[in-house]
Amino acid sequence: MGRYLRVFLTFARNSLVRDMTFRANFLIDAVSSVSWVFLNLAFYTLIFRYAPAIGANTGWEKYPFFLFIATGLLINSLVQTFFMTNADDLSELVRTGSLDFALLTPIDTQFLVSLTRIEWSSLGNFLVGLALIGYSMYKMQYTPRPMEWVLYPFYVACGVVIYYSLMFALAATSVWLGRNQTLLDFWFYITNFSRYPMEIYRGPWGTPLRRVFTFCLPVLVVVNVPARFLVRPITPQSLEDWLLPGFAIVAAVASFAGARWLFQRALWSYRSASS
């Protein structure tokens, strides 16, 4: 365990050194992703000029909704910081045969290829997320209880695990397919469904869609479950309120196990290249 931590810290340090070598580039990356977030917030602010909430009787008024967006920001920025570049690189490792090196090192291959490069500039959005949480809570005049403060980071972590697993499972298929640019695009399109509160998916089309993205591909629990802890006190009103947080843990464990299984299978099929 200590060895893994040491390796991780080395990766983190190397990436930071690399980022600091091109400091202007680092700054531009951070600033541009932050401005992207602000443009999105401007769009939502515009929406709230016309409507009091996202969905009638859902409780997603302006500041609760901003808490939702902030939670999504935290989770997305963590995934981008630690995993996205690495998942993106995996197909390149397979295509060029550089994966041989990762296989030969005496450390878990999935760990190595998942965390080699850390994009520190993506943490800019993490800070924006934290600031947005503070601002929205101040505006809402609501402070969650200690229990909710404990559960929130835990469920944010669960969300990161689910996103990571989905991304890595898709990336792992590049061993069979050779190229997987479309598949990572697929990740973006799928996670796009979790950008808004799950209450918006209702009606004859919305309800099945919500079930699919909750139970088959559990992207809807990623942001919804933690965000709810910040928005309202834990007073379960329906069966769903009880079950969903429990299910989120199951979903996180299952998707991680699934991604790991798929990755191992993929490694068995790996036949190196150009060596």
Binding site: S32, I47, R49, P52, T58, N192, I200
Partner: protein
Amino acid sequence: MIARTATWWTILRISMEERLVYRGEFALGTLMRFLPIVTQVFLWAAVFSAMGGSSHGRRTVAGYSYHDMIAYYLLTMISRAFSSMPALASGIARDIRDGTVKKYLVQPIDMLGFLLLYRVAHKLVYYLVAVGPFLLVFYVCRGYFPGWPDGPTLLAFLLSLVMSFLLGFFLEATLGLFSFWFLEVSSLLFIYMLFSFFFSGHMFPIDMLPGVAGTIVKHIPLQYLAYFPAAVFLGKVRGAELAWGLTLQFVWVVFFIVASRIIFSLGARRYSGFGA
């Protein structure tokens, strides 16, 4: 003249053939690009459901009913299919940086003309392949549309689409040609992309913008890349306003054609052949 036409025809044909190689992945990719609209459909349904007051059908956001809103997003996909120029500016910047650009300077071929034809070919092939997915999506979503607009409106719509292609091309080419001076224009391009996503109407109908911002966006060229053709189709822009809008679009197209020419000739004079 005939020899020149033959040259341009060859360029067009080769570019089209090159583009048709990956048509399967291409059609699938086009279909997937509609997925984010599914989220928009539900988001706006939720927004409209939360608006109080009159009956559901009568509620509007900046003059858009729920159905108008969804139709608007679908129509911007068509505008974007004409105006978006993936990798044009960054491609020009790369050619200038690594010295490839000199092939246009020493050969008797016009760089902007070549790139324009190359784009036309890619777009033609794109429409050929994308027409399937587009027809499918629009047929499924036909309930959101108020019906076909009348002849003149349709004509204005087509005219604005063609001009939005030209505007998109010459605007991005102009941006890319700035790399004769800066070499690295990726941050400039990112800022452009950011603003264009927001102010072109790709993200939402720009009628929603209040006050001064709303007035400004109706004059800058970005609205023609997504908003304007869609608004024309939906009958949001009519009569004198429509004539004025098309004129302004034409003026912007001419402006960027001239600007790209001037910047290209100034830049070529300054060019010193890095990486050659």
